[in-house]
Symmetry: C2
Subunit: 304 residues, 2 copies
């Protein structure tokens, strides 16, 4: 079952039309691990933090059964910090400040048992770091998923393409799919990106849902129309965490399981945006999740 999540564990300051929070917990691996923890166990995080990262937050992850031994604490260092302000439409945001801090020297050295993890989620990071992790795996994981972003397409495309070639599932947003493929039509973009290596491509469209492609089929997962989107930070990572948590539990990677996994991911992401930081996804019950999944079923069910 052993799911390895690689990504940032960070501190964020976030401003949205609903309010403002200072120095709260963030980071791709944090969101991934929390979301996955509802569906699978033996979750391991590989990341790097400074002394300013709140110890009790690591404790909370441990009580969820998440192994945090792979989170390297740099004495005297400061954690990766991001601050941003969302616009009124919540679909765009301004980055106010990015401090790489300890992340600048992140060169993961995986604990030996981590190197045999059966499932691997590479959160958005420098492609060379993602590659380092891939190279340290002793056995090829059963499922490798990766997230990335336009920044790496602009600055490290060659290295990025090498990582993409080695994964099973790639998750990017619609604009990134267009940039990576040079195609406006998402159907064409998917066809071209699947030729780059991954078996499955997931195109995330935020409030418009997500598309899953393989070479033969396409599936659409809707987003729940919410009254209030409080804070979109981490929604994509929460989506990936819910998806990989579900897949790690199922074990087998096929189109049918991936469809369900994406609905689980979408449900977790719909919780994530309802409060700041990881506040909402820290405190869900199984009943909350089941009710939310039912809403997704009702949302798209029809008879013809």
């Amino acid at each position: 079952m052993s799911l390895l999540a690689v990504g940032t564990v960070a501190i964020d300051s976030i401003e949205t039309p609903y309010g403002k929070v200072e120095r709260v917990v963030g980071g791709a691996a944090t969101y991934i691990a929390w979301a996955a923890s509802y569906f699978t166990d033996q979750i391991r995080i590989v990341s790097i933090i400074g002394e300013d990262f709140p110890e009790e937050e690591l404790g909370l992850l441990k009580t969820r059964g998440v192994d945090t031994d792979g989170i390297h604490l740099v004495k005297g260092g400061k954690s990766f910090f991001w601050s941003g302000r969302y616009h009124n439409d919540m679909n765009s945001r301004d980055t106010l400040e990015t401090q790489l801090n300890v992340l600048a020297d992140f060169s993961p050295d995986l604990p030996s048992e981590y190197r045999k993890s059966k499932y691997l989620m590479l959160g958005n990071l420098t492609p060379s770091v993602q590659m380092t992790v891939l190279n340290q795996m002793e056995v090829r994981p059963d499922i490798i998923a990766m997230d990335t972003m336009n920044f790496w397409m602009d600055s490290a495309m060659d290295e990025l393409l090498k990582v993409i070639k080695r994964v099973d599932i790639l998750t990017i947003n619609d604009e990134e799919a267009r940039q990576l493929s040079g195609k406006q039509s998402l159907a064409k973009a998917a066809r071209d990106i699947l030729k780059m290596g991954p078996k499955y491509l997931i195109i995330k469209k935020g409030e418009h849902g997500a598309l899953l492609f393989d070479n033969e089929q396409v599936f659409f997962a809707p987003a729940l129309p919410l009254y209030d989107v409080f804070d979109p930070t981490g929604a994509g990572d929460t989506f990936a965490g819910g998806m990989m948590g579900y897949l790690s539990n199922k074990g087998e990677l096929n189109f049918g399981n991936l469809k369900s996994a994406i609905i689980y991911g979408s449900a977790m992401a719909s919780f994530c945006v309802e409060e700041f930081s990881i506040n909402k996804i820290k405190s869900l019950s199984d009943r909350d999740i089941q009710k939310r999944l039912k809403m997704f079923i009702d949302l798209v069910q029809f008879d013809i």
Copy 2:
């Protein structure tokens, strides 16, 4: 089952990244009638044209069983003309020219048998013309749907709200829903717009599908990810035509029937955009439509 479609019957010149056509058949009522003709009979059009409108096109509608006696031909007049150019992303367009021509004096006087139509689709038109039609109905139709656009929200809001109050189904796009309600969240926009009178609100999101709301439920119909969107002109009207054609055949208006109707509408719209003008929706077989509907089922079907 007598479906009355009110709207423009027009001539368009259209330029898209795929090509350019001059003076082809267009108009909301044209698309509505063609799309509906696959699902119901006794379709009637109320509109106005000039002598430049190609007679053979009216003939084709007649062979589909569409009653065109309510299309008023103005001797010596010219038909409503629109020309536009779509941008590369196909989501935005520039209007190059609009000639109201005979539409400027359109004041419909419904043939007596039209006034008892059981189903009514008010295509996008001046709200006062939509109101004139409503007032001429001798018996309140079983189902009244209307389409409108931001232009009337800017220029004739009071009159528009009076029409909206009297219909069962309102179809608008996402930006129009935000403008009409003043709410960014579509869930909140829907809640507020439903207070204005309609029982059902359909929010069209183009390539992102469509949302259906009543006061208690929400349904999402996806759009098919297409390789090529050739010409988006008339997609919204084709959607409405497919929907009202299906509903006219079913007879009863409820959330379940409307869900199916919207999938039919989405399927017809997916054909519409694959060729210029009404070219594709003029020549479909039942088998084409059944195959396309199956694609919509596959697109959102999952097991949990």
